[in-house]
Amino acid sequence: MSSSPATAVGLVLMLALTVGLGVYARRFGRSTSDLLVAARTVRPRLNAAAISGEYLSAASFLGIAGLVMQFGYDVLWYPVGYAAGYLVLLIFIAGPLRRFGAYTIPDFAEGRFDSPAFRRVAVCLVILIGLFYMLPQMKAAGITVSAATGAPYPIGVVAIAAVVVALVAGGGMGGITVVQAFQFAVKIFAISLPVFVLCVEFGSPSHLFAQLGSRVDPQLPAAVQFTVHPGDEWTLARPTSVLPQTPLRVRLLPPRSSAGGTYPALGGPTGSGAGQGRTLILRPPQQTLPAGSVVFSDAGRVGLRAGAPVPFGASTPASSNRAWALPFGPLAGGGGHPLLFTYSLLVGILCGTMGLPHILVRFYTNPDARSARRTAWLVLVLLGLFYLWPPLYGVLGRLQDPALYTQKLTDSVVLLLPRLLFPGWLGALMTAVVSAGAFAAFTSTLSGLLVSLAGALGHDLYGRWWRPESSPRARRRAFRLAAIVAGAGAAGLGLTVQSFDISVLVGWAFAIAASSFFPLLVLGIWWRGLTALGAALGATLGGLAATAGIVTTMLQPASPALTSFLDRNSGLAVIFSQPAIVTIPLSFALMVSVSLALPHPPGQVSLKMLQLHVPERLGLRHDYIPE
């Protein structure tokens, strides 16, 4: 990938602005970075912008567009779920949790059940979910830096991890409200302006869809030279003449089972069924490749003419424009159980939002439950405004730059489209804008997560269990060390996820959070009968069950036995890959049944409920017996 100075300028400018604003804000006393002594005076509007700034991660900024480009309509469930998650948070927990004064889930677990042991369980779950959520941010960092500088993916991951760790460990931008609010402004500007300019150039959305509808499958708008490596896989919709520069051996693959919206024609009478397993030699200057999938055995370069059907790389299932645009296309329909998939994805995201480690913290800066609720509602408004835009990049990408399918670069579509479509200064400017937005997206989320993780590791693991007698200074040092350890761990794991889609990885973090913390928060706030044992068992087993399903799905490509088992049990495969629809009820059922079987003595529960639900103005919050 060629480098672009404009992108690098965008990144550096963004970094400088962020750090500068952080320093400025700190000097003028608006710092709410140290959340343990939070000022709690942030107004809902500013706070909502800050929460949105921290929440809009690389998955929102890059991932949705890339996934829409790959899979079409079904992907729209992701942004809708990300936004609607705040409605769920608003109606069930925003007010009570603010009254309770708990601003992390471990705080709530300990405070609600008076159980330090439960706190430890919650801390472990926070670390698990936090790591899962950092993976896609790391991938985004890697591809953004590599689009900006041409550096290889691992260097981007390590460099950004180092920058964020330095910012967080240096007491940096993680928790400062105005900085996060500014990041939101950057992101909504950086996502909406370029796509607006692109639509001025290439036509309104209605024009784009009309163009898509007029072609059977995505076609290359201009001639392209592809670099191929041994092992690269191409899937073509119809026989296509290609222009290899050197003789290249390719192996024809047997047709895949084409469930859902993929090509029904593939492997049919006109497909590659006849010669599967056969090796073909592509000789210059021109050769016809049959429809179906092939694997290259040699490295080299292959040209395709303008108007040729695009070869789909291994990461994107081939789909016609029609299947792509209609519901239950390759994403939801691919597993053969489109409704199950869609509903499970949806509940996972809806219920997972509140369980992410860095989300609840910021509600603590509201003065009371009323402003916490207003903040949550304003976040919903801001997210709704943001999520209108990313899908348009996906549509534009399918139409104007389908070569990204072949190159397996769909996750970079937001970053690459402007430069490709506007040569010259406009392209450079727009590229700088989207790069700055992407940088804001992954750094804000990464630093928020890192603060939460380092807090869990440094304050809880070190300050409470390992060295309860340690001085505040030693704890601050432990926090910094924990930030470095967590950052290094996330970077190490981030190196392994290059081939996964950003939004899919994020969806998994949501599913684990939804299966552990969502039932804990909802039942803990609204049901007196929940006991510490029930809550801990339900949260742990629910979270582990979801993790097990997801890890199985991640390991599947490496294990032929697992693959064939999941092929035979397609319903199970869907549930493993989107476990929320089973694991959320499992977690609820465990919590309720264990709590009913081994009830607590009533004890302090009423006091907790009083704290959670009685309006602040009655003055019962601090001294429960006003005499």
Partner: protein, 115 residues
């Protein structure tokens, strides 16, 4: 269990106010009833909004199975895209706004009753 003094003529309002709050604060059985009533009203509201949220979102995959809907287009944009990608967000915002108003007035009414 009779905790509060029975209301007697002149000082009814003043003493009743104090008593409500005290009963709540001391978690007497009467106070528990107040609290339970507040929680029940708030939870019923939340569940109502949750059900309407699930209706707005949950009905769309079912609609998607309906051929006339999945193939409809407005200005050549498929209708399912418009509904899910554009129309759903304002609906979420409206549902949230409705919840805000109602939950604040439940809290206010409770506060007025206790005070």
């Amino acid at each position: 269990m009779e905790v509060g003094p029975s209301p007697s003529d002149n000082e009814v309002s003043a003493s009743a106010q104090i008593d409500h709050l005290t009963e709540l604060a001391e978690q007497t059985r009467v106070g528990e009833v107040y609290l339970a009533a507040l929680m029940r009203r708030q939870l019923r509201l939340s569940l109502g909004v949750a059900v309407s949220l699930l209706a707005v979102l949950g009905v769309q995959p079912l609609l998607d199975r309906w051929v006339a809907y999945r193939q409809a287009a407005l200005f050549s944009i498929p209708v399912p895209w418009l509904v899910l990608g554009l129309l759903t967000y304002p609906l979420l915002v409206v549902a949230g706004y409705f919840y805000l108003g109602r939950s604040e007035s439940i809290d206010d009414e409770f506060g007025d009753l206790m005070r």
